[in-house]
């Protein structure tokens, strides 16, 4: 699914060079649920951004579903983000002046999908996250947990191969976090690969694997379970 070898990512500003990822190698199997942990500034978001084709990398190779993504044009990267990847953010990142329905519609719109098909998918996704009755609400009219569920609906409505979630429960209390986690696990059970950054060790343990990053490198990998089909493969620098 995801195969990174020796990825490096350097942020250069006028004053400093930050090595956000160094010799970063990771292989994620289809259907896996991987939790990413690490201290603040360790490079978790950077890893997700590289994995999600939001950020280019400086060295190494990255194959997504067998495809070498380093040679892709910006348009091709946009198309892959649109069709294969779903994003969930800590801050929900809903578009404030669109209602929930239109928010979920956004990725489908960029896929130039016919309206009837879009409608079917949006209602199904909102049904799945339990927000069917809130379609016409604006994000500001929903609770944090509801907003995050709307964001999940947006991430899954395009049937992505992988969901990248950056601290999806970071802004939520325990009950809400639990709801979100259950939702993610059920999505994963349907076969969607999930990479989730979290600071919560309990949640991390519910993944198949926990990848701990220190200073832009993989420090430890813990195995808690396996995907039915494939077995989790070890990263390079364990």
């Amino acid at each position: 699914m995801i195969e990174m070898n020796n990825i490096s990512k350097v942020f250069r500003t006028d004053v400093v060079e930050t090595h956000a990822l160094r010799a970063f190698s990771l292989r994620v199997e289809p259907g896996e649920f991987v939790a990413i942990t690490g201290h603040s500034g360790s490079g978790k978001t950077t890893f997700l951004n590289v994995a999600g084709l939001l950020e280019e990398f400086d060295g190494g190779t990255y194959h997504l579903e067998g495809q070498d993504v380093s040679r892709l044009s910006d348009n091709e990267r946009s198309r892959i983000r649109n069709e294969k990847i779903g994003f969930i953010f800590q801050g929900f990142n809903l578009i404030p002046d669109l209602n929930i329905y239109d928010n979920v519609d956004a990725p489908l719109h960029y896929r130039r999908m016919p309206a009837a098909e879009r409608h079917k998918r949006i209602t199904a996704a909102l049904e799945r996250v339990g927000l069917s009755s809130r379609m016409k609400h604006l994000p500001s009219q929903l609770s944090g947990g509801q907003q995050q569920r709307a964001a999940i609906a947006r991430a899954i409505c395009g049937s992505p191969r992988v969901i990248l979630a950056d601290e999806p429960t970071g802004n939520l209390d325990t009950t809400m976090s639990e709801q979100i986690m259950e939702l993610l696990q059920s999505i994963n059970a349907g076969g969607t690969t999930i990479l989730m950054v979290t600071h919560n060790p309990e949640l991390a343990q519910r993944a198949h694997r926990q990848v701990h990053i220190v200073d832009g490198r993989i420090d430890q990998i813990h195995h808690f379970g396996t995907v039915q089909r494939a077995s989790a493969a070890a990263g390079a620098s364990a």
Binding site: N49, D74, R81, F87, A106, P107, H109, Y110, R154
Partner: protein, 455 residues
């Protein structure tokens, strides 16, 4: 896609109503200034008789003295020959049988003595001209027509009058065969013109180009028979002076317009030769010391040589467009700030699969819509501005005239026709694109991850 972009754009405009309004008003003011200047420009820059562009030619000869221009003369286009001819030269042109039609003429003012007692005698501008005038310039007649060429040499007492004069003297009825007293003599009316307003009045630009045609037209020989003195005369020799009526025919003084209608370019070439040969012959006799410089020019060139549009009008357009550019540059900063403040959403859309082009197009649509709203507002402003311009400048002197054509003429300078409306639309879209292209491009180019983090 367009519909979607438009919906997003309107939503975005509503998000910052004050800022949006500010930008729209800025654009509107810029467009209004440009539209006003361009309307006045286009009123002056029009072609009065385009269908005869390759047929009608004004005839000029360089009859001036040698040496530098006399002090006080505007230096602009000193290379052009004078725009009028002296009597002897005009007659030489008129004698040529190369042109299909040939007109020699000038403008004078004569007193009309009305028969009706309740109207006081009044002066009217009169054109003393050879017979071809009406056919050559496609002058429309309401009643009757012009005179035969023979009437030019015999000073036949016939007159063609304008619609205005016919309305004023005869209440607009068919007045053919009736008489009017012009300059103390009786003339029989053989023609009444329909409304006619060549714009500019190209055939005689001595009054600046934007005046009404004359109200009475009489055969050419009336210059002598009626001693009808021309309204403007310029003498090209320092020693030349008009001391009495006869001087008009003997001195080197210019007061006649000469126009020819030529069948084709071959005729033009032959006619040019004819005029050049005439001038060579005159040189042998010690006249016309300057190098050959006889220009036989079509209406466009003629208007251009006479600078009918005017440097002021051109300058106003340049200043107005420059102002619009300043307005656009001003909004570019505001638009960029606005776009950047909403950059996280653009970044989010990128993450969701929008391409750079999607983002650029969406943002550009917003600015183009702003341009169109600004354009609509600008049009309203320019209507107001043009009315004001009309009231303050162009309607001057209208109260003292009972000729409704004066009002039409005055209004023509501030009238926006369909093509100007179209221009306004084009200008609005262009303004939107110009103002939005850089900010939209900037937003499209930013890496998506950079904004996501800021949320």
């Amino acid at each position: 896609m367009l519909l979607h972009d438009t919906r997003l754009a309107l939503r975005s405009l509503k998000r910052n109503p004050i800022l949006s309004l500010l930008m729209i008003v800025t654009i509107a003011v810029g467009i209004a200034a440009s539209m006003i200047a361009m309307t006045v420009y286009s009123a002056r820059a029009g072609h009065p008789i385009p269908w005869k562009e390759d047929k009608l030619f004004a005839v000029t000869m360089d009859t001036r003295d040698e040496g530098p221009p006399p002090p006080g003369l505007p230096l602009r286009n000193y290379e052009y020959p004078p725009f009028t001819l002296g009597y002897q030269d005009a007659m030489a042109v008129y004698r040529s049988d190369i042109p299909r039609r040939s007109v020699v003429m000038y403008r004078t003012g004569q007193l009309v003595m009305p028969e009706r007692a309740n109207i006081k005698p009044f002066y009217v501008p009169v054109r003393v001209t050879t017979a071809d005038f009406f056919a050559m310039f496609d002058v429309p007649f309401r009643y009757g027509g012009g005179w035969p060429r023979a009437a030019d040499t015999t000073a036949e007492p016939v007159v063609v009058i304008s619609k205005y004069l016919n309305d004023k003297l005869f209440g607009g009825v068919n007045s053919l065969g009736r008489e009017i007293t012009l300059g103390g003599r009786q003339f029989k009316i053989i023609g009444v013109l329909d409304a006619w307003m060549p714009h500019p009045r190209f055939y005689d630009l001595s009054g600046g180009g934007f005046d009404l045609p004359e109200d009475a037209f009489v055969p050419f020989e009336w210059v002598r028979a009626g001693k009808m003195f021309p309204q403007s005369i310029s003498c090209v020799r320092r020693t030349s002076r008009v001391v009495n009526f006869e001087s008009l025919f003997t001195e080197e003084c210019l007061w006649l317009q000469s126009w020819v209608e030529l069948a084709d370019s071959a005729a033009h070439a032959r006619f040019q030769d004819y005029v050049d040969n005439y001038v060579r012959d005159q040189k042998q006799r010690g006249r016309m010391p300057r190098p050959l410089n006889n220009r036989i020019v079509n209406v466009s060139t003629w208007l251009d040589m006479n600078n009918v549009v005017g440097d002021d009008t051109r300058m106003q357009v340049i200043v107005a467009v420059a102002f619009l550019v300043v307005c656009v540059l001003n909004t570019v900063g505001l638009i960029l700030a606005k776009f950047l403040s909403a950059a996280p959403i653009a970044g989010l859309r990128r993450a969701l699969g929008a391409t750079r082009l999607d983002i650029v197009r969406q943002h550009l649509t917003e600015v183009v819509i702003m341009g169109l709203i600004g354009g609509a507002l600008g049009l309203i402003l320019s209507f107001g501005g043009l009315r004001l311009l009309h009231a303050l400048i162009f309607s001057r002197g209208l109260e003292t005239s009972d000729n409704p054509a004066r009002l039409t003429l005055a209004q023509s300078f501030t009238h926006m026709d369909f093509s100007m409306l179209l221009l306004a639309v084009v200008l609005s879209v262009l303004t939107g694109i110009l103002a939005g292209i850089y900010p939209a491009w900037r937003i499209g180019r930013l890496a998506p991850a950079t904004f996501l983090k800021t949320q």
